[in-house]
Amino acid sequence: MADGVRFEGDLAALPTHGFGHRSITWWGIIGFMVVEGMFFALSFAAYFFILDKEQTWPPAPLAPPDLLAGSLLTILILLTEIPNSWIKRAAERYDLATVRKGLVVMSAAVIPLFVLRGFEFASLNVSWTDNAYGSVMWLLLFLHTTHLVTDWGDTLVLTALMFTEHGKEANRFVDTSENALYWRFVWLSWLLIYLLIYWVPRWLP
């Protein structure tokens, strides 16, 4: 072991924040997305594992879920990407006014999703206690609903935060950008779940 130290450079000029993979928040969000992606992937595997043993899907005499509520939600959740991208871009150019407006829009835009989600549970045509098919349908919808709730909670807190003095801190803009990234994960994962809940039971004989 060498004694003493040799000064080799100075870090004082470095910035104190960065977007995307330069930011620790991004790595945290990616980590949680992978964890939750695994939850989804394994639930999908469970879905197919149960499906594989059945003669018909859904098991007779059950009817597949009704399409209306879920399809409306799908359209609406895709539309939320418009304000979401708007917020992300605004955050990355530190446009506080736009971020504030966008976050308010986004917080409001999620509310109709919850209403539709309520109707979705009602349109599954099966209870979780009926059989494993019902259990796995409810599981998929429930897992996704928890993501809606948590991201909405995040967005509400962030909205409140951006209206305080803390909204001016550079790292809050990073947080806003990463929150928008997480929302993309929420709707992307929904597209797959939508297929599994509503369309696979219709496609299979």
């Binding site: 999908f44 595997a45 594989d52």
Partner: protein, 292 residues
């Protein structure tokens, strides 16, 4: 090469399309023509560039070898009796798909054949193509497609969707759908391997390795479900009864799933390890000598 092209003629003379007989060669123009044109374009482009190249002929030779191998594997899987045998056994069909998606397109993508094929075009067509590619909307679309994430998603979607019973049975029943199936496998896996190779070359080795990991999982999940399933998914194969390999339809499907799962996973893992190795190699010697 020429004798290879002549061989099928001879084979065709003997083999019919009756399932009781040995599987024959597939010489539908929808398959052979594109293959032949690709080879022709590459040959012309190679000759033109070879004449112009001052340096880098070694790399060109290596690329041409990779391309030639990839083309051969692709042609062999699509044209040889393997293809027809695949219509009677899911396992053989899976081997054909795996050869296409794991071997042929990997070789073709690493051969970096794009510029050669472009140079194979007549000059006017080449310039028109150049203008087209640089058009703003096309460039943007291409930019999105060439992301390894998008390519991974596309390939995964192609893999899963085509294995949905309705679609797979359709591909079994009609030659047109079958060509569409193979074409989408070729295009998506070519795109996948190409973006992986490019990401690796541009220093995004982590992204490349991660996408390989996801792809391995996507294939493993599908293959695993097949391997563990005890009921045949596809009416087309189930109706045929015992396969020529002496397997029941469900065993045939299990074996197909295992081939997708385990050798498929090993190829993706191997690719990820190769990427990682190349990335670890520099700096390896830079250890301090022990201060004792």
């Amino acid at each position: 090469m020429l004798c290879l092209l002549l061989l099928p003629e001879a084979a065709l003379a003997h083999a019919g399309h009756d399932h009781a007989e040995a599987p024959g060669w597939t010489l539908a123009p929808s398959v052979t023509l594109p293959l032949a044109i690709t080879l022709l374009l590459y040959g012309v482009g190679f000759a033109r560039l070879w004449a112009r190249a001052r340096r880098g002929r070694r790399a060109m030779r290596r690329d041409a070898l990779l391309f030639g191998l990839g083309w051969l594997v692709l042609t062999a899987s699509l044209v040889s009796p393997l293809h027809e045998a695949g219509e009677r056994s899911f396992t053989v069909h899976m081997i054909e798909h795996e050869l296409i998606m794991l071997v042929a397109t990997l070789l073709l993508a690493t051969a970096g054949a794009g510029s050669m094929l472009l140079w194979g075009l007549p000059a006017a067509a080449r310039r028109a193509f150049g203008r087209l590619v640089h058009a703003r909307s096309i460039a943007a679309g291409w930019g999105a497609l060439s992301s390894p994430w998008v390519a991974t998603a596309l390939q995964a979607a192609a893999l899963w969707l085509w294995h949905a019973p309705a679609l797979f049975d359709r591909a079994l029943a009609s030659e047109g759908w079958h060509v569409a199936q193979h074409l989408s496998f070729i295009v998506t896996s070519l795109l996948f391997w190409w973006t992986i190779a490019r990401a690796d070359a541009r220093g995004s080795a982590g992204v490349a390795a991660f996408c390989l990991l996801i792809t391995a999982c996507v294939g493993a999940a599908l293959g695993g479900l097949m391997a563990l399933s005890s009921s045949p998914w596809y009416a087309g194969y189930a109706a045929m009864g015992m396969t020529p390999l002496g397997l029941t339809p469900e065993e045939d499907q299990q074996l197909a799933g295992l081939i997708m799962w385990i050798p498929g996973g090993i190829v993706h893992m191997g690719a990820a390890l190769v990427i990682l190795y190349r990335w670890l190699k520099p700096g390896e010697e830079r250890h301090a000598v022990s201060a004792e």
